[in-house]
């Protein structure tokens, strides 16, 4: 039952799968932070159209299953509407990156919004009183403090995102979970499913645990003292 052979026999393939996971989640981490920041700027903007867009986007994406979002990207936009990224090999990769980033951005936005709520109103008033405009106040005074207040929660969002990246396999992108499924589907595979699960889970922890520790450390280090 605890036969680790299938795990080690297919180790190269598994490593390749994790490399694909890393490539997907690293880019999605950066993009979702950027999208999320843009979204939260919309949500607190004085311009009603932008506020409505931000609120609408977050509510739709946050309440749609990720599988649907990614299938919409791959089957809907890529296949059906033929909106392909150039270089047909990587078109599913790019759709997975976009889908996962777009989805995660909604959660980043909400984390940042709760961060903005921790910044005292007086900070924004002082910023306005020295002549900073709305965007400048947000960029220079409010968001830097909001970010520091929610570094740890943002870490949780990223950990969830790394694990969520396995859903991309449903959308045609071969990452660690789809490698695992391929191995399980091999005709020669008879036993060792549990060790394989354990191995893959350990692989994810190698990615997520340091992420959590790093963000926890950063949170303490960057905290704004009031």
């Amino acid at each position: 039952m605890f036969d680790f052979r299938p795990f080690f026999d297919n180790f190269d393939q598994i490593l390749e799968g994790f490399w694909a996971t890393v490539r997907l989640s690293a880019l999605a981490a950066v993009l979702s932070m950027i999208f999320g920041t843009v979204l939260v700027s919309c949500r607190v903007s004085p311009i009603p159209v932008l506020r409505a867009f931000g609120t609408g986007y977050v509510n739709v994406l946050r309440n749609t299953p990720l599988t649907l979002v990614l299938l919409m990207c791959s089957l809907g936009l890529n296949d059906e509407l033929a909106l392909k990224f150039s270089g047909s090999n990587s078109t599913y990769y790019w759709w997975a990156v976009l889908g996962l980033s777009g989805y995660t951005a909604a959660f980043v936005c909400e984390a940042l919004r709760s961060g903005i709520n921790t910044v005292p109103l007086g900070q924004a008033e002082a910023a306005r009183s020295i002549g900073l405009g709305f965007t400048q106040s947000l960029r220079i005074v409010i968001l830097p403090q909001a970010f520091r207040a929610v570094i740890a929660p943002l870490g949780s969002v990223l950990i969830a995102m790394i694990k969520n990246s396995t859903v991309a396999s449903a959308a045609g992108y071969a990452e660690s979970a789809s490698v695992m499924k391929d191995i399980l589907d091999q005709p020669s595979f008879t036993s060792g499913a549990i060790p394989l699960f354990i191995g893959i889970a350990a692989g994810f922890m190698i990615l997520t645990l340091p992420t959590g520790f790093f963000f926890g450390w950063l949170h303490k280090r960057m905290a704004v003292v009031r």
């Binding site: 007086g122 002082a126 306005r128 002549g131 900073l132 400048q136 009031r226």
Partner: protein, 272 residues
């Protein structure tokens, strides 16, 4: 004129020469003119037909019971609050409703808050240089040089590299004054600048403000510090229930107020 200094003259003075802005071409009329200003918060009528004129170099103390609309008046003057009716002219110009133009003109009106509101994630020096660099487009070097002069003037040059939370309340408020001054405002608003301070720190802040008044800065100060009012102000405005109930000289006001409402208020704050 009641003070021993005589009329403050912005063009004389031995303070730093760049502290008080040159008289603008816009002229020699009053610097702040508040006319028929009305303001509601929902049902609540917080400013009722307010009229107030502040001349160049004049220091006006606003005093009155809590909830009377003093803060709202200050905040309306630099448009942190929009007004419902009337007009507010600063140096002959009405501040625009919103947008970039407002942001730029707003910096002409310095504001010092009760709770200091220093930017918590920036050093004292960065707090003071932020506006000059981002709004006035000064070079970093130039802004820092001027900031250090201002911090020196308010007596905390040695705290420049610290963060706000590392300073005492009195030091923070002095830093906040320096931050406002760095924009070279035409007029400074102070909303109860010493109310949040421990008693032993009140004077260090009042001293800085008295110095500013002496150098000819135009100031509107909400405060209950009678000593400061007598020393530095030319005019006391008593506000209650959203109205200006009495305008008087400090000496007259504190010894011989004209209105019952003011007498009643003074008897309450004087008993302790």
């Amino acid at each position: 004129m009641t003070g021993s200094e005589g009329a403050p003259d912005p063009t004389a003075g031995d303070g730093p020469d760049d502290l008080v802005p040159e008289r603008s071409a816009a002229g020699s009329g009053p610097l702040v003119v508040v006319e028929h200003v009305d303001k509601h918060f929902g049902e609540l009528h917080v400013l009722k037909d307010i009229n107030l004129t502040v001349n160049r170099g004049e220091v006006v103390v606003v005093i009155g019971p809590s909830g009377g609309g003093k803060s709202t008046l200050c905040r309306s003057i630099n448009r942190l609050e929009p007004i419902d009716g009337g007009s507010i002219l600063v140096d002959g110009k009405e501040l625009p409703q919103e947008g970039k133009e407002l942001a730029r003109l707003r910096a002409d009106v310095g504001m010092v808050f009760q709770s200091f509101n220093l930017f918590a994630h920036k050093t004292i020096l960065e707090n003071v240089t932020l506006g000059p660099i981002k709004v006035r487009k000064r070079s970093k070097q130039e802004a820092e040089k001027h900031a250090m002069e201002l911090l020196d003037r308010v007596g905390i040059a040695n705290q420049a590299q610290k963060y706000p939370a590392q300073l005492s309340g009195g030091q923070q408020q002095r830093a906040a004054i320096a931050r406002s001054l760095a924009m070279k405002p035409k007029v400074m608003l102070f909303d109860e600048p010493t109310s949040a301070l421990d008693p032993e720190m009140v004077n260090e802040v009042l001293d800085v403000m008295t110095g500013l008044a002496r150098d000819g800065m135009t100031m509107i100060v909400v405060t209950h510090e009678m000593g400061f009012a007598r020393r530095a102000a030319q005019k006391v405005v008593f506000m209650a229930d959203g109205q200006i109930v009495e305008e008087n000289t400090p000496d007259e006001f504190f010894t011989n107020a004209r209105t019952e409402r003011a007498k009643d208020f003074l008897s309450k704050i004087l008993t302790h």
